[in-house]
């Protein structure tokens, strides 16, 4: 399901404009961005949880022998809820 289809489906079920729906999706994305940027975790019951994880900087040794310093990074990881896992299988 593409973004377009998704927004359409959502607009239909919410009985709202596509614009409104898009606005709300953006708001959700912003919340996820700020919270996960703070390394918090957002739990949606029956669906899963989004968590911001920080990876510390590391020293990589390439096969060529060169050593690289990888800077730290914050990533968002998603963990499926068991409820959803069962429903899928």
């Amino acid at each position: 399901m593409d973004n377009r289809n998704f927004v359409n489906a959502l607009a239909k079920s919410l009985k709202r404009d596509k614009e409104d729906v898009t606005k709300m999706i953006d708001a959700l994305c912003n919340v996820v961005k700020t919270r996960c940027g703070e390394l918090d975790s957002i739990a949606v019951p029956g669906f899963g949880s989004f968590e911001g994880k920080k990876r510390e900087e590391r020293v990589l040794t390439l096969p060529s022998g060169k050593r690289m310093l990888v800077p730290p990074k914050i990533t968002i990881s998603f963990k499926t809820s068991n409820v959803l896992k069962n429903r899928l299988s």
């Binding site: 593409d2 079920s13 709300m24 999706i25 959700l28 739990a43 020293v59 060169k66």
Partner: protein
């Protein structure tokens, strides 16, 4: 940081961000995730949401393995697995504090030690939750300093703290050691906390970028520092506590050594009556020069034994610092040695006169010259006489 945001809280946050009521936000969120779930359950292999990411379904194939209990072959049926791939824009936005840092190639000059310090730094650095909260303004500046090796400065405070309690009160080694341990652990989190949780890049362009970013956005930085702190609080506290403990133990050991040495010195000096006996029993053993000098200062009789290797000249060197002062030992024991000053038999116990009697001072040229003159007299066969400097020995 590491907070769990419940669904009601999420509803609130989204309502605030979108400018809608809580009820609308709740309905929206339920529909949002519901639609995704239904699409995936009903067979859609992916759902893409712009700005958030893509939810994908992967179908695993059935596989045959053995039952761990009875070794029988078992077929594990295939299943659907849900994965989430973040949208690029969102991933970049979340990584904002570290956005401008790039992978840099390390030169071979960097030792493994320095590299290890980078690894250990990032954990304790981000763990200092208290310091970044109180000093957000200072953080951008230290970030620019970009020192790859921070642990040596961390160890300096413990070393300095250790030396100061030594001359301090000996009778109370314990209370001294404890304050040493405490201030030691305190300065440690602070110098450790000041450098950013950001990496300590070696290359200049990265440092410049680091300077740009902290200046632009000082706020997100202290927060990730605070957020990242609880990730490794255990290691930071344990490390600094342990360092403090080791320093305290070392300080106590040193104090004990000093006290022991002091008691040894005291035992010899305070009682002249018994001092001679003690000195005689101690004399046959080679005494450290420091103790011998301490003894020489006090009115106690010092004796030493001549051996095959320890001739009078050597004894002079040992007790006075220069061989030339052997003449005074000779004079003191003239009856014993007689004319045989060049060939004193091993085993002869000689009295070592105190340095102040003849004004023996290895560092004083006058004293050395006087001794030299006396030695001339001895060599030429004349009857040697030496000026007794100190009144009380006349």
């Amino acid at each position: 940081m590491k907070n769990k945001i419940t669904f009601p809280e999420l509803v609130d946050l989204v309502a605030k961000a979108a400018g809608t009521t809580k009820k609308m936000s709740e309905v929206f969120l339920k529909e949002f995730f519901g639609t995704i779930s239904m699409a995936l359950i009903e067979g859609d292999d992916h759902v893409k949401i712009k700005g958030l990411g893509t939810f994908k379904i992967t179908q695993t194939k059935p596989r045959t393995t053995r039952n761990v209990n009875n070794g029988e072959l078992i077929e594990i049926p295939g299943s659907k697995k849900l994965t989430f791939v973040v949208d690029n824009a969102l991933a970049k936005a979340v990584n904002m504090p570290f956005e401008s840092f790039k992978e840099i190639e390390l030169s071979d000059e960097l030792t493994n030690e320095q590299l290890q310090s980078i690894d250990t730094e990032t954990a304790p650095k981000s763990a200092a939750a208290t310091a970044p909260e109180t000093e957000p303004a200072q953080e951008p500046a230290p970030a620019v300093e970009a020192q790859p090796v921070v642990t040596p400065p961390v160890f300096n405070p413990p070393v300095e703290e250790e030396s100061t309690p030594e001359p301090a009160a000996e009778p109370e080694p314990e209370p001294v050691a404890e304050p040493v341990a405490e201030p030691v652990s305190e300065p440690e989190p602070e110098p450790v906390a000041e450098p950013e949780p950001e990496p300590e890049p070696v290359a200049e362009p990265v440092i410049a970028a680091a300077a740009a970013i902290p200046q632009e956005k000082p706020e997100p930085e202290p927060e990730p520092a605070i957020e990242a702190a609880p990730q490794a609080p255990a290691t930071c506290n344990k490390k600094s506590w342990w360092q403090g403990f080791v320093t305290g133990a070392l300080a106590m050991l040193l104090l004990a050594c000093i006290a022991w040495m002091a008691t040894r010195c005291d035992g010899i000096g305070t009682k002249p009556g018994t001092a001679v006996e003690q000195a005689d029993t101690l004399a046959p053993e080679p005494e450290p020069a420091a103790q011998a000098q301490a003894q020489a200062v006090k009115p106690a009789v010092v004796t030493d034994t001549v051996t095959k290797t320890m001739l009078p000249v050597k004894l002079a060197e040992k007790h006075y610092g220069k061989q030339i002062f052997w003449v005074y030992i000779y004079l003191e024991n003239k009856e014993k040695i007689g004319d045989n000053w060049s060939n004193v038999p091993p085993g002869t116990v000689l009295v070592i006169p105190p340095a102040e009697k003849y004004g023996i001072d290895a560092s004083d040229k006058e004293s050395v010259k006087r001794a030299s003159d006396v030695s001339m007299q001895v060599y030429s066969g004349k009857e040697p006489t030496a000026l007794i400097i100190n009144e009380k020995y006349k």
